[in-house]
Amino acid sequence: MRRILQSGALRKTVGAFATLGGVAVFVFFMLRALPGDQISASLGTEAAGLTEGQRIALVEYYGIDQSLPVQFFSWIGNLFQGNLGFSIRAQQPVLDLTIAALPVTFQLAVFAIILALGIGVPIGMLSASRAGKARDVLGQALSLLGLSIPAFLLATTLLTYFAVNFGFNPNGLGYKTFFEDPSVNLQQMLLPSLVLGFGISAPIIRTARAAVLEIRGQDFIRTARAKGVSTRTLQFRHILRNALIPIVTITGLQFGYLLGGAVVIEQIFSLPGVGRQVLLGIQQKEFALVQSTVLVIAGIFVIINLLTDLLYRAIDPRVRAE
């Protein structure tokens, strides 16, 4: 038994389920702690004119007439049967809505991460290669810009600038999936992934720079250099490879963050992803929609973390040995 518990894979699996359980409890009760309910969210101040009989009818209609424990366990029970709930507003199952929204966010996150890595890793390496010199200052300045320019500001500016000056506003055409219209879809993803990628490249630049600087000062690099290993081989095989672990860690974290946290960008660029789905659900107090979508996002986050761990093993033989 002890052996089984000591097994890394099992520990991680148990940890993952515990995390998801915690998220489920947290999101369920947090939503109920918010002021207002679906009736006031839907009717606004008109709800003041409801008679008691009308209110009772609506409470039943929205399914908020049960006690909290009953609602919670009914939700969890349904989840295990693949039923994520029903959105009264959209008149659709939450599962269908989530299945439609997830690929949008996933595509945006992948594009943003590719751009962020494309910008962040080379600039981080270049900065570290001449620490304190002009290229390092430039790299650091770029990273500072990425960190300090608010995404909503950059997004709105780009959106307005391209629309007004070039009539380029693919996001105003209504969202198209890649399979419906690949050309429009890629155009619709261009500006949002640029904005997100630019923002995420900042921590990647900093992480890459710090990691490369640290590795460069280590004994085995000095030994390799003394043995006459070429600069190129040294840079890529010895330094970059060993600097990858923190870069992969930050990339994994940022990717997970993007899956749930790209809401502002999805909002500005009218992308119907999961972030917007959650936001709309919160505004409308559609509890089933929000809690199930958040749980799906948390589940994906957990999976990404597990995959990141696996990637460590692929990159670093010392992790494999452990």
Binding site: L34, G36, S40, A41, S42, L43, G44, T45, E46, A47, A48, G49, L50, T51, Q54, R55, A57, L58, Y61, S87, R89, A90, Q91, Q92, L97, A101, F111, I114, L115, L117, G118, T156, L159, T160, F162, A163, V164, G167, F168, N169, P170, N171, G172, G174, Y175, S183, V184, L186, M189, L190, T233, F236, R237, R241, Q267, I268, S270, P272, R276, L280
Partner: protein, 525 residues
């Protein structure tokens, strides 16, 4: 080494490929957009509307329901008023005109209204419209368990008769002069007696000019021309209500020519729209007010309420908070009954008089009040609160801003759980529809109004039954005076709405009610 090289080079290649492809595609798109939005020639600009075409309307959020009796959201109304009809309607000047009822007669004592229904009207599914549908609709709205929003409008209807297929008689407990105007609301839409709420929550079946073609949650709603519409067929083939969640995104889409019609609440964003677009400013019937709860705390003292009223320079608040985009108003904004903002105890700010009122209340040294302010409900809400607070400070009235998230604000507003509140309330073309719910002691919003009196009850009862327009005006002028003289609330100003229309659109008239009913006459050049 080889493996590492492969790993490091592939993403770079992929990234480069995507970037280049995207830029090429972007370039192509820009060219296409340029072609689409090229300035029309003089001939094109003057061309009359052609039958056909697809109009795209930009909305920040999609309609939250397609069932008319439960709709309260602006976006849902704008769509549903083009799908369903009511017995009566407003024209552009807010006169009550026939809709599904071709004409009507009111009995001498006002307690019975006979509607003669229009002939040859069909629902979108091809079934005939008749008096049974009106009876079914109104009686269903009256059922408490159906939780229809406009149930109280039909509160005075005691029975509905259908002597024949083309006639409906509403029998009222007492005369209700405002009823004809109140029946124009989309919440009183006539549906087929064969349909249920469940069916009409997933598909529409109205007698209006359009019908639902498709609905994708969070993305768009598409209406198509109703081939069975009784009136002139709409020039447009379809109207797409497209969701662009941010007003800046809608402005960008209009500038790029992707959207032809949108409504802006923020004047600054409306001004960023460029290209062949006209932005019209329409005064609204809704009004901003500092609501004072006369049943709560210091507001029970009329002198304190009057002191607050005299301390505020409304125009200055409007200029500060909303860039002067609006008009100072009295309580009633209904066009035919509009209150004179100068007929109030302090038409201009009068700090000396405010001090007198404070002294009379026994608070010569000043008072402190908490004012509930919403956040996230409408543009300028907190700014209005701050501007009012700054003005009250000059009169020794310390106003603590109690800023509440929209959900919390609505909960407390509904319960009347505030001493004072900054609010944006809706207006109606008829003053009874506007305030008949608030200020009579039996009104279903009286707990929110926080005020009632025997005088007010009598005035509203008289206004409801008086059919002489001149006498009715006098009654509502007295209502207005009663509200202002007692400083029941402090009415501040009405704002504007900003309707942006592409210059390719014809036949569209924005209305002060916010209605988009003229989509039915809209065409594209």
């Amino acid at each position: 080494m080889t493996q590492l090289k492969k790993w490091s080079v592939r993403p770079v290649k992929a990234f480069a490929l995507i970037s280049v492809a995207s830029l090429v595609l972007a370039g192509c798109a820009a060219a296409e957009e340029e072609e689409e939005t090229a300035t029309p020639t003089a001939t094109e600009a003057e061309a009359p509307a052609a039958v056909g075409g697809n109009l795209v309307v930009g909305l920040t959020v999609d309609p939250d329901t397609i069932f008319p009796w439960k709709a309260t959201q602006f976006q849902a109304f704008r769509m549903l008023e083009n799908v369903y009809d009511t017995l009566t309607a407003f024209d552009a000047d807010l006169n009550v005109v026939p809709a599904l009822a071709e004409s009507w007669e009111v009995s001498a004592d006002g307690t019975s209204i006979t509607f003669n229904l229009r002939d040859n009207v069909k629902f979108a599914d091809g079934s005939d419209f008749d008096s049974a549908d009106v009876k079914y609709s109104y009686e269903s709205i009256q059922v408490e368990a159906n939780a229809a929003v406009a149930r109280s409008t039909l509160g005075g209807v005691v029975s509905i008769e259908t002597p024949d297929a083309d006639t409906v008689v509403l029998n009222l407990a007492t005369a209700d002069v405002g009823l004809l105007a109140n029946l124009t609301g989309t919440n009183l839409a006539i549906v087929s007696s064969d349909d249920t709420e469940e069916e009409l929550s997933t598909a529409t079946n109205g007698t209006g000019p359009f019908m639902l073609e498709s609905r994708t949650a969070g993305q768009n709603v598409v209406l198509a021309r109703n081939p069975n519409y009784w009136g002139d067929p709409t020039p447009l083939d379809t109207v797409e209500f497209r969701v662009l969640p941010d007003e800046a995104a809608i402005a960008a889409a209009m500038s790029a020519g992707n959207v032809q019609l949108a409504l802006f609440s923020d004047p600054i964003t409306a001004r960023t729209v460029s290209g062949d677009v006209t932005v019209s400013t329409t005064p609204q019937l809704g009004y901003h007010a500092l609501m004072l709860n006369s049943r709560n705390g210091v507001m029970t003292d009329k002198n304190i309420r009057l002191a607050i009223q005299c301390s505020i320079d409304r125009q200055s608040v409007l200029d500060t908070a909303l860039l002067g985009e609006g008009e100072v108003t009295g309580p009633i904004t209904s066009p035919a009954f509009r209150s004179d903002p100068n007929a109030r105890p302090c038409p201009e700010r009068d700090l000396a008089k405010a001090a007198e009122y404070l002294a009379a209340s026994g608070n010569a040294d000043g008072i402190e009040i908490d004012v509930m302010v919403p956040q996230g409900l409408y543009a300028g809400e907190v700014e209005i609160g701050q501007a009012v607070a700054a003005q009250l400070a000059d009169a020794n009235i310390t106003m603590n801003l109690d800023v509440q998230e929209s959900g919390a604000y609505i909960d407390r507003w509904i319960a009347g759980d505030f001493v004072a509140a900054i609010a944006l309330n809706g207006g109606r073309p008829d003053p009874d529809g506007m305030y008949g719910r608030y200020f009579p002691s039996t009104g279903n919003l009286n707990q929110v109004a926080g005020y009632s009196s025997a005088t007010m009850d009598k005035l509203f009862a008289d206004g409801k039954v008086e059919s002489d327009p001149a006498k009715r005006k006098e009654i509502y002028a007295a209502v207005s005076a009663e509200l202002e003289d007692n400083a029941v609330w402090v009415w501040l100003f009405s704002g504007y709405s900003y309707t942006a229309t592409s210059d390719t659109m014809t036949g569209f008239t924005p209305m002060t009610t916010g209605s988009w009913q003229y989509l039915r006459t809209t065409g594209l050049k």
